[in-house]
Symmetry: C2
Subunit: 128 residues, 2 copies
DNA sequence: ATAAAGGTTCCAGTAATGGGAAGGTCAAGC
DNA sequence: GCTTGACCTTCCCATTACTGGAACCTTTAT
């Protein structure tokens, strides 16, 4: 299977698939003409990566998850630990963004938003 | 005023202040020895930048906000538009992260997390 | 024969810094 | 006067996870 079809099947851009090969996440075979040749397991692996990335796991997280995935004897506790750490990060990010949202929506609400030069948003950025 | 003091006053790392000069956000004077020389207005501007960045405005947003801030005749509607767009972005990010959190916390809850190799998290990543 | 659609490698750029090298400057202490 | 240490300078490389583009080769269809 050539790269374009893999791209269609996994939803990953061809560029990204090549990049994943570069950094050692997949190792497709090569045909005589130099084209990458993917089989079912490669596609499966890439689809796994696409989903994990979609859930916001970093590339390095994915590397770890892949290793665990391919290790028949892995402990599910290891996977859980990665997922839990990731969950904590997500929750932190959400908290930060919610703080921003609160401040910003206060500011937007306070701003009359017309042609007058008086603007509470800038005032706030000016003086803290 | 030398860069270190400005860094202390604004909370921005010296590196970042130099970078902001590079990209044209501030233009400190230069002393005879080549050192950057900041005055009150520079510090004020940098403090403004620090706050705006702290609220998650991008550098380019900041450039726009700074221009409006320095324009005595600006319309507060312009500022409000930037802030509203940013608010919308933040809300999108929060929504995305909350989806991830929901999925992940389901997965973590479903995973027994012991030494057995059976892991619902990997199963889910495997089959979508 | 030619053109389109695919494939390849490599180089550079993104956002917003951070790290560190190599070297100039300044103030204090001896 | 000299040294030490803290500060300043510029410059280049690294980060994350790709994305775009150039230059070039292969396959397929007309």
């Amino acid at each position: 299977m050539n790269i374009k079809e893999v791209a269609t099947r996994t939803g990953l851009p061809a560029k990204t698939i090549r990049y994943y090969e570069d950094i050692g996440l997949v190792t497709p075979d090569r045909a005589d003409n130099g084209y990458r040749s993917f089989d079912r397991t490669h596609v499966h692996k890439l689809a796994f990566l696409a989903r994990a990335r979609g859930l916001g796991f970093s590339i390095e997280d994915c590397r770890g998850l892949l290793a665990l995935w391919e290790d028949r004897d892995r402990a599910s506790g290891d996977v859980r630990a990665i997922a839990k750490a990731h969950l904590a990060e997500i929750e932190e990010k959400i908290a930060g963004l919610e703080e921003m949202r609160a401040t910003l929506s206060d500011l937007v609400a306070a701003c009359h938003g017309d042609d007058r030069p008086d603007c509470p948003i800038l005032k706030r950025l000016e003086s803290g």
